[in-house]
Symmetry: C2
Subunit: 90 residues, 2 copies
């Protein structure tokens, strides 16, 4: 894999922001902030994780899957995509 | 709020672990690791966030809500709980 991941940089940046967001929720919890404030922030992180997951899937489709189809590895493509979807969909 | 949050320490510890987990996924993305490996780790963080959210709700019920009922503030209880649930449930 690798060269065919055009969103990878954006994915790293988003994960860095999510990391900072979780750190700030941890600080809110330490500071004994209101439960519903914490829950609101946790829901926001969950949404951001879903979005970064979708971007990873998009990279996977545009990069790995398209490349594998071009090389005629259909079986591998299906197996690979099934694995990625199984890992992500609830 | 405050003194009636008996799970708060565990919540802070869980958030610290989630923060570290997101950081390690970011490093995996930087190292150009496989898309499906990233998605598996993102799903694990999502699950951990759900669990810490449930623990915050539990704290909220055991602490704030019970206390408010004892003080006869039923309306405030309902409003407060509705707010917390709205913030968390998808």
């Amino acid at each position: 894999m690798g060269s065919n991941h055009q969103h990878r940089k954006s994915i790293v940046n988003r994960l860095a922001r999510i990391e900072g967001h979780v750190r700030s929720i941890k600080e809110m919890a330490k500071a004994d902030r209101d439960c519903s404030d914490l829950l609101l922030q946790i829901a926001a992180v969950r949404k951001a994780l879903d979005n970064v997951g979708k971007l990873i899937l998009q990279d996977h489709l545009e990069g790995c899957v398209v490349e594998a189809i071009e090389h005629g590895n259909q079986e591998e493509v299906i197996h690979d995509l099934q694995k990625a979807l199984n890992n992500f969909i609830r």
